[in-house]
């Protein structure tokens, strides 16, 4: 027992969790048919449940997972897992139907019409009753996690954002507050609003499908699962005092020391590679960072536009293409920067504390 816990603890680290999640995600997107198969999906689901049951035997694990603040996250894992599986399953079915020249599942179903009342309304009513009952029981059984009145001289350790913001808080570890706290949330919201204008192809609306929308679905699910849900889970269960990373069976102590020396790109470039002191002028100092961003956000998209994405560019036009690329590249930049931090302790690509501007 303890050996297993030890092994899990020592395996867990931000980079291991994140990489495993990306790997699972890639597997799911590459083999949707096999992964949504009832045996495979059932095994995964049982595995997760089994892990929780196994973990609940551990006092510390139970403490963290059973916290009133954290219950929604446990629910979230199962609810979103289930619905992702469900949608993907339907999509795979429809893909097969389409390939065989049959009408989609939704089409067949909608041919036979039933009345909203009572068929739909009754279901909704029953579900609403169940939900209401569940909420009442939840409210009665679990004490609300209220704390003392606000006190600016007292930061609880660890200090955690509300659970739905824990993904952002996790990003704050890797990014400047302006980026992770202001720019990213804005871009996420605006970007989500922009999706129907970028992808205005009506072809596949009204039914589940995957093949015809492979990239759109993959991109969205990556943002949703990896960059939002996984980060929330990490922030909830695995970040302890001093925002250090703790394995699921590790005891949260404020004295865990994790050496984290972070180095800016400019320091890498001038001190490590060129072997000279940092230039005084901030612009010259941050030139490597500007160059890196220029290559990433301007040159690479330009190159792709001429080669790989030529067809896409012609189909959706310049304006859509540029918005799409800007959003996608920002989304990819997020995990990229996190990996740079893990691999090279890279702190900021551009760091101008003079203006409070860091990327």
């Amino acid at each position: 027992m303890d050996a297993i816990k030890e092994a899990i603890n020592s395996f867990c680290s931000p980079v291991a969790i994140f990489t495993t999640a990306i790997f699972m995600f890639a597997l799911f997107m590459a083999f949707p048919k096999q992964m949504t198969n009832k045996w495979v999906a059932g095994a995964i689901g049982l595995g997760v449940v089994g892990f929780f049951i196994f973990g609940m035997q551990d006092a510390h694990f139970k403490d963290i997972v059973g916290k009133a603040d954290n219950l929604p996250i446990v629910g979230m894992i199962f609810i979103f897992g289930y619905f992702t599986w469900f949608a993907m399953k339907k999509a795979v079915e429809n893909d097969e139907r389409i390939a065989a020249g049959q009408p989609t599942w939704e089409k067949t179903e909608s041919e036979e019409k039933v009345l909203v009342f009572p068929y739909l309304i009754y279901i909704e009513f029953v579900i609403a009753l169940l939900y209401a009952a569940a909420l009442v029981y939840w409210a009665i059984l679990v004490q609300a996690p209220l704390e003392d009145p606000a006190n600016p001289t007292l930061s609880p350790n660890p200090s955690k954002a509300p659970w739905y913001f824990l993904g952002l808080q996790e990003m704050l570890v890797y990014f400047d507050p302006w980026l992770a706290g202001v720019l990213f949330p804005t871009v996420i919201i605006v970007g989500l609003c922009a999706i129907p204008y970028i992808d205005n192809d009506p072809k596949t609306s009204g039914y589940y499908c995957f093949k015809q929308r492979r990239w759109a679905i993959t991109a969205f699910m990556f943002g949703f699962w990896i960059l939002w849900l996984v980060l929330i889970m990490v922030g909830t269960f695995l970040r302890g005092p001093n925002w250090n990373f703790f394995g699921p069976f590790e005891v949260w102590t404020a004295h865990k020391v994790v050496p984290l020396i972070n180095v800016n790109l400019s320091e890498f470039f001038y001190i490590k590679w060129l072997g000279i002191a940092l230039p005084q002028n901030w612009f010259i100092r941050e030139l490597p960072g500007f160059a890196a961003l220029f290559i990433y956000f301007i040159l690479i998209p330009k190159a792709l536009e001429r080669t790989v994405f030529k067809k896409l560019y012609e189909r959706i036009g310049a304006a859509r293409y540029h918005i799409l690329i800007a959003l996608t590249f920002m989304m990819i930049a997020l995990p990229l920067k996190m990996y740079f931090r893990w691999a090279f302790n890279l702190k900021y690509i551009i760091a101008i504390p003079e203006f409070f501007f860091n990327i």
């Binding site: 009145p149 606000a150 006190n151 600016p152 001289t153 007292l154 930061s155 609880p156 350790n157 660890p158 200090s159 808080q169 704050l172 570890v173 890797y174 990014f175 400047d176 507050p177 706290g181 005092p241 001093n242 925002w243 250090n244 404020a254 004295h255 020391v257 050496p259 984290l260 020396i261 972070n262 900021y348 760091a351 504390p353 003079e354 409070f356 860091n358």
Partner: protein
């Protein structure tokens, strides 16, 4: 209105009476019609039957008829107006009152406004090489005595403003929110904090006590730590 109309023609159609209690709009509308003299079966034929019975009545449900209720309507309208306006005024007043209570939220329940300048005792009360946390709750400063002198460090993390804690064993300040770490000098060395902690003006008062003035702050990245008030030489 449809329910009221059958009430008035009582003498004519006794069958109409049992209908209203059911109060089923669709049924009541459809029900009485066949009973009415054989005329075109629609909603309209009902009204002609009602009208002859109504004209002299003082306060019938005149709305559907419109014209015949001539003499009674101005007063009735006045009456309606006064009640209606009363209701609206009451409603708006209640709404405004309810909303105005939200203004209360603009004023925090807990106010933290300690004095900006304060005395913190004699220099020899502070041990060399120690981070003194005795004022952190009251004034939000750490007092540190280094070989060069005494300085007052702000307890506000330069990342997003949480309060780091001093870890004696690890000899560093560590922020609980996103894990920024600072040396004893206040210089940031780990985590996302973009710049060192700020220092406050520190000097000796006339009575020999140390005087810290938080209204004057010194930032390392602006090269201000070398300014005279940033450090109290001892």
């Amino acid at each position: 209105m449809t329910e009221e109309t059958p009430k008035t023609p009582e003498p004519k159609k006794p069958e109409a009476a049992p209908q209203p209690p059911k109060a089923q709009e669709p049924a009541a509308g459809a029900g009485p019609k066949p009973a009415v003299p054989a005329s075109p079966a629609a909603a309209k034929p009902v009204t002609p039957v009602v009208r002859p019975a109504v004209p002299v009545a003082k306060k019938p449900a005149s709305a559907p008829a419109g014209k015949p209720a001539g003499p009674a309507s101005p007063e009735r309208r006045k009456f309606m107006m006064s009640w209606l306006s009363f209701a609206w005024i009451a409603f708006s007043a209640a709404t405004v009152a309810a909303l105005s209570t939200t203004l209360r939220f603009l004023f925090p329940n807990v106010l933290f406004e300690p004095k900006m300048a304060f005395k913190i005792g004699k220099p020899d009360e502070y041990d060399l090489g120690k981070v003194d946390t005795r004022w952190e709750d009251r004034y939000g400063v750490w007092i540190i005595r280094s070989p060069e002198g005494i300085y007052a460090l702000s307890t506000v993390c330069t990342h997003l403003g949480c309060k780091p804690s001093w870890l004696e064993n690890e000899q560093k300040f560590k922020c609980p929110c996103h894990g920024s770490g600072f040396y004893k000098s206040g210089i940031n060395f780990e985590g996302p904090a973009p710049r060192p902690l700020e220092r406050f003006a520190i000097s000796l008062a006339d009575d020999g006590q140390i005087l810290v003035d938080k209204s004057l702050k010194f930032q390392y990245e602006k090269g201000e730590w070398t300014k005279p008030l940033a450090l109290l030489p001892v």
